[in-house]
């Protein structure tokens, strides 16, 4: 009995894994908020890296155009095609442009753009910063008295926050064309009539909420990619993990934000 007591006294108290998990979760949340706070603190302070911002906007925006064009067109075309049979049952095919416009402008355009950007841009930011972290390039910037956080994190996050709403608007317009192709083939509706019917059910709140949503998605993709890359663990595996985790986390957060924003904008309608 004595021996048993002395053994248990010598052993360090093991923390139950559930508490350990909770503790780590709160530490991670604290780290993320600190990272976001640092972003807001540094993004408005000089020096302003306009050239780098333009370069990153080009990377995020212009280099995504082809992908956004193709996916936008397909989304518009497929959504219209799939909606047709249901509306046909009620003889309401003339409502197709309105239905497509509401679905695309309110939800699909920002969501599809965000998901594509999370895959293309978020992973690229995570991998690039992760690789710079493990090869000590970020440390090299730190020790030379430059501002790597501002140059690398702030500019990339700002670029996604600016470029993704613009891409979302573009995606919506291309999806409208995709929908028109189906409508034209089936009903022979003129383009002017289709555009009128497309924009008729949309109000200012739809445009603003869509833009606000895409801006929030853009910020999320940029900050998550940067956070994962900036805090990448060492080795090539760490870089892969950072890129992968940037995509998964950003996509998950985009869906959560979508639900919250839809709820909030619903109160204003």
């Amino acid at each position: 009995m004595d021996q048993q007591n002395s053994t248990s006294a010598e052993l360090p108290k093991a923390e139950p894994s559930i508490f350990k998990g909770f503790k780590q979760f709160f530490i991670d949340v604290y780290d993320v908020f600190r990272f976001i706070f640092r972003f807001f603190k540094e993004v408005f302070a000089p020096p302003y890296e306009f050239r780098e911002l333009i370069k990153q906007c080009w990377e995020v925006g212009v280099r995504s155009l082809l992908l956004i064009t193709v996916t936008g067109f397909i989304v518009g075309l497929i959504f219209t095609k799939q909606s047709r049979p249901s509306l046909l049952q009620f003889g309401a095919t003339s409502w197709i442009p309105s239905l497509v416009s509401i679905a695309i402008m309110r939800a699909l355009a920002p969501l599809v753009t965000a998901l594509i950007s999370a895959g293309r841009v978020g992973s690229s930011i995570g991998a690039e910063l992760g690789s710079m972290r493990v090869t000590e390039q970020i440390d090299a910037m730190e020790v030379s008295g430059t501002h790597p956080f501002k140059y690398l994190v702030c500019m990339r996050t700002l670029a996604t926050t600016i470029a993704i709403p613009l891409l979302s608007v573009y995606n919506g317009l291309i999806a409208m064309l995709g929908g028109y192709l189906n409508v034209y083939v089936n009903e022979g509706t003129s383009f002017t009539t289709y555009v009128q019917q497309f924009f008729q059910p949309l109000g200012y709140i739809d445009f603003f909420s869509s833009l606000a949503k895409a801006t929030i998605f853009g910020f999320t993709i940029g900050i998550v990619g940067s956070y994962k890359g900036w805090n990448s663990s060492s080795g090539t595996a760490g870089v892969g993990k950072a890129a992968n985790s940037a995509v998964v986390t950003a996509m998950f957060l985009v869906f959560i934000e979508e639900v919250i924003i839809v709820q909030i904008t619903g109160w204003f309608r």
Binding site: D139, A140, G145, T146
Partner: protein, 257 residues
């Protein structure tokens, strides 16, 4: 093989470390070390892998925080220094990384310009070009100015890494394993470059290495880090003139291949 001794000012300490301790979890890397670096001196820190040599220079440059102890660099206490003061101090310290840490998305020219234009505002294009050319000439790689880091050899990358730190005219140079992964001839060229930097730019340097040929060629003084403390300090021959088995073993493995 030993180096020609440079005019060292033993009255002026550029780095002074007292009781420096650093642990990672339960692993105690540095256990209360004391160290001084004098003006214009090349100090070599020797030790096996994982003994905390790189940790030491990362603490000096503010990349890592010390747990306990005082680290004074050019009259500034690094432990607890404000971010702004640390930024200022870092401009006076050059750090040459083990893997060179060149920015791989930029050409050699952009790599050299990057710290320069961010630290010295209002420089004219002509001034920037002449400073870039001067440091490239100092490391003997003027012809690589428009190349990407991926197109350079290991030795060239090390030289460009050193050139990038020299462009800010640092007073202190910290070299992390400058000859690691290089062939003997390229290693010798890097050793010569370290000595030429000391002479030409009047720098005081800490050179982290486990390469005794490098230590002998560049060190005015050698300090041997064992078990988280400096066990031996002095001239190269003095340090290895001992019966300490660990020190002798280190010497034998380097010179009896």
């Amino acid at each position: 093989m030993g180096k020609q001794h440079h005019a060292i000012d033993y009255n002026e300490k550029v780095i002074s470390i007292k009781g420096l301790t650093k642990s990672f979890g339960s692993y105690h890397v540095l256990r209360g070390i004391d160290l001084d670096l004098f003006k214009n001196e090349n100090l070599v820190v020797l030790g096996r892998s994982g003994t905390g040599k790189s940790v030491l220079i990362k603490i000096i440059s503010g990349l890592l925080r010390a747990d306990v102890g005082q680290v004074s660099v050019l009259g500034n206490e690094v432990v607890g220094i404000s971010t702004r003061d640390l930024q200022e101090l870092r401009r006076r310290i050059g750090f040459s990384f083990q893997n060179s840490a060149l920015y791989d998305s930029m050409t050699v020219r952009k790599n050299l310009e990057f710290p320069l234009v961010r630290n010295q505002k209002n420089l004219k294009r002509k001034e920037i070009d002449s400073m870039v050319e001067r440091v490239l000439e100092a490391v003997g790689l003027k012809q690589t100015i428009n190349q990407m880091p991926a197109e350079l050899s290991g030795g060239q990358r090390k030289r460009i890494g050193i050139a990038r730190t020299l462009i800010l005219r640092p007073e202190i140079m910290l070299y992390d394993e400058p000859t690691a992964g290089l062939d003997p001839i390229t290693s010798m060229e890097i050793n010569n470059l370290i000595n030429s930097v000391q002479e030409r730019f009047n720098t005081s340097s800490i050179i982290i290495t486990h390469d005794l040929t490098c230590a002998k060629a560049v060190g005015d003084r050698v300090a041997m880090l064992l078990d988280g403390q400096f066990q031996r300090q002095g001239a190269f021959e003095e340090v290895f003139d001992t019966d300490d088995v660990r020190v002798k073993q280190f010497y034998d493995y380097n010179f009896t291949d």
